[in-house]
């Protein structure tokens, strides 16, 4: 189970980057850029990344759930971890909190030698 925590961190970063790109770059370009302009078309095509975000998020949810079962976080905190994959930028903050809590409360889950 020692791979669970590193897997969580990697997935959290991927979900966070995809979500930030989709919601803060692709979506504004698609709807706000001048119709038919290169930027607008780029925004429209880049919106396909929402699908990638969706499926990576599903894996993220499964891994977070398994981590929750190991750590016995309180229900509100567990829900925050799960839902943060849907709110732009929040997941980066949540990932830091999770990392701190795991290091403090469950050092056995955090393999040594992983950079902070």
């Amino acid at each position: 189970m020692s791979k669970l925590f590193p897997a969580y961190r990697v997935l959290a970063i991927i979900v966070g980057v995809l979500l930030a790109f989709c919601s803060l770059v692709a979506m504004p370009l698609k709807y706000l850029a001048t119709d038919g302009s290169g930027l607008q078309r780029f925004g429209e095509q880049a919106s396909i990344m929402w699908v990638a975000h969706g499926w990576v998020f599903i894996i993220y949810v499964v891994v977070s759930f398994l981590l929750w079962r190991q750590t016995r976080w309180s229900l509100p905190f567990a829900l925050l971890v799960l839902v943060s994959g849907l709110i732009p930028l929040v997941i980066f903050y949540v990932e830091r909190v999770v990392t701190r809590r795991i290091r403090e409360e469950h050092p056995e889950l955090a393999p040594a030698g992983v950079t902070p």
Partner: protein, 268 residues
């Protein structure tokens, strides 16, 4: 791995799981699952719309003269399915037929079909519309015909025209109609619309013979592009996967954290 905790009697489990402290969680859970199901169905609907829009797009192309799409002796072209075409010629009311067993809004009736003989001398069956029975259909039009119709391939379900004496036929098949008509027939038919003829003679009203009949749409349209709206289909499945996993998480949380029945193995 620690042994499983002794299981509680069912009644105790239910009472504990339904304690007021957990009501909010249960409610959240139900809302989340219902939301996932509805969002998935919504995306599935968007996917369907994409596909039917794509398929129906051909019917909104500008109408072109019939012979440009389907010649009198030509095989039906794949690109002709659902194309709007301009049909001009003379109505042949004497060879009006009624196609039996046609559903419209859940009612069974007939299609009223009158051929138009084009300037080239070939006939094209024109479905003027739907009526409850041949007797309920208005008299077929006479004289000059000029209309925009949606081109359709001849039907060929293999239904036999058992009684050639009457004017009711089981399917709109060129093969069945040929022995009835004193002229050559096109290898397809059109569904009449009331659209104006593009660039028509002083923008005149179409002489489409649809009056007194209920309109029918195109019966055959080209298949939609396979990838059309695929993203929405994937979204739909994503929502349902979320919904299913939410139920799974809820159940594990109830079992382990609320009822203490089972413990995940602790890491060593």
């Amino acid at each position: 791995m620690p042994p499983d905790a002794p299981s509680l009697p069912a009644s105790v489990s239910v009472r504990r799981a339904l304690a007021p402290a957990y009501w909010l969680t249960h409610l959240l859970m139900v809302v989340a699952v219902v939301a996932c199901v509805l969002l998935g169905r919504w995306q599935l609907g968007v996917w369907h719309d994409h596909r039917s829009d794509d398929a129906a797009q051909v019917t909104h192309e500008p109408a072109v003269p019939l012979d440009q799409v389907l010649g009198p002796d030509a095989a039906f072209p794949a690109a002709g399915m659902g194309r709007p075409v301009v049909v001009a010629g003379r109505w042949d009311p004497a060879h009006t037929v009624y196609v039996a067993d046609r559903e419209r809004n859940g009612r069974t009736g007939v299609w009223a079909v009158t051929p138009v003989v084009t300037t080239g001398g070939s006939g094209i069956p024109v479905v003027r519309g739907w009526a409850t029975s041949p007797d309920a259909a208005p008299a077929p039009p006479t004289g000059h015909a000029s209309l925009v119709g949606l081109l359709q391939p001849s039907e060929d379900t293999g239904a036999d025209d058992t009684s050639r004496a009457d004017d009711v036929i089981p399917e709109l098949s060129t093969t069945d109609l040929l022995p009835r008509a004193p002229y050559d027939l096109y290898g397809g038919y059109v569904v009449a619309t009331d659209r104006l003829i593009p660039g028509g003679i002083d923008g005149s009203e179409p002489i489409s013979g649809t009056g007194g009949l209920e309109p029918i749409g195109p019966q055959h349209l080209p298949g939609a592009d396979a990838t059309s709206g695929l993203r929405n289909l994937l979204y739909a499945f994503q929502w349902w996967v979320f919904g299913a996993f939410a139920i799974f998480m809820w159940w594990r949380w109830l079992e382990e954290d609320v009822l203490g029945r089972r413990r995940s193995p602790r890491p060593r």
